[in-house]
Symmetry: C2
Subunit: 199 residues, 2 copies
Amino acid sequence: MPENNAAADKPLRADARRNRDALAEVAAAVFAERGIDASLEEIARRAGVGIGTLYRHFPTREHLVEVVYRREVEGLCTAADELAQKHPSDVALEMWMQRFVDYIATKRGLSTSLRILITTNSTLFSDTSGKVSQALRQLVDAAVADGTIRGDVDASDVLHALSGIYSAPDTSEWRDRSRRLVSLLMDGLRFGAPKAARP
Amino acid sequence: MPENNAAADKPLRADARRNRDALAEVAAAVFAERGIDASLEEIARRAGVGIGTLYRHFPTREHLVEVVYRREVEGLCTAADELAQKHPSDVALEMWMQRFVDYIATKRGLSTSLRILITTNSTLFSDTSGKVSQALRQLVDAAVADGTIRGDVDASDVLHALSGIYSAPDTSEWRDRSRRLVSLLMDGLRFGAPKAARP
DNA sequence: CACATAAGCGGAGGTGCCTCCGTTTATTAC
DNA sequence: GTAATAAACGGAGGCACCTCCGCTTATGTG
């Protein structure tokens, strides 16, 4: 079956689809630069649409935030595929984790509102965290399979190791610290692997 | 020692105290009638002060809500004393529980925002719930002591029995249902008490 | 192509938020 | 009582929210 929400999902008209996408894309940028309380009118303005159009597509701020969030997670997961194709699998894994750090970075500061949104809307959390760990699993498994990282770890171990990134305090050094955590982790993962790159 | 917050608590000027009280009182009414998102400008207007004055006393909506909430709890607890003096102790207990129902009634619908406020500000919760159960304990103990309700229960039992009031769904019948719960509970408490009123 | 029409657009307008600062007033000192 | 002054007042102004509805445009049909 193609889809079947209560009374929805008919294909949008071309202009509507265009505007909707433009809004989501601009919103991502504006939220990143001004925080989650950014002016919706600014978003509409920058996207080149009227404020009415914004509200038609996204009746509340939360709707917009949710869509932006889902798109970003989507992008993160797509990146896993692309990296996997263009790079040796251990390098792909490392690059992806660095990108993951960048991604988390933009989410800091949005904390309160985003947390409320996520606790309010539980499918949002399960959907997205499921996708992320699936993307990670794919990268880790590939790297283990071709011997560029050691064989006695799996995706859950790596995810667990990354969890320090969430919990670390919100200082100016956070980003650097997190990048170092990722390289450190990679060194550990390469250690003793059959085909690990030797620096 | 009288008080000693970091750098505060000097006695307010007479007009300031007046305005502050008026605002809190009006706010209680307006929140009750329009919900927690009521217009702050309306509150200022009805209290007969400028909007600037409202914001000086209560820099954010949450500040105002918190103060209103604390006052209401205060009132509920004061009522316990008054009822205890004017009525036989079992009657006082019953009347107080009915008033408790009214109090909870005004809080329904405010749920989300109030819940956020309470989880954000944990002393608010411990302060108020402590006071409420203390008031209830006083009433129950008195009624047990003079034999108008049975002796094998204590305040915690009663509080536990009342907890159904919170959890019940938010229907139109809620209030009636809750009132009946209270009478039912009172019948049970009077049953077999040495000096219970016999209908 | 031309037309009909449903889908979508946009922005004016009314309301609320919050800040800032010139004016008013309670209080203290004399 | 009067004067000095710190405290408090109030509302204009600027910005954001969100709705409503007259106008525009994409799309299907002949």
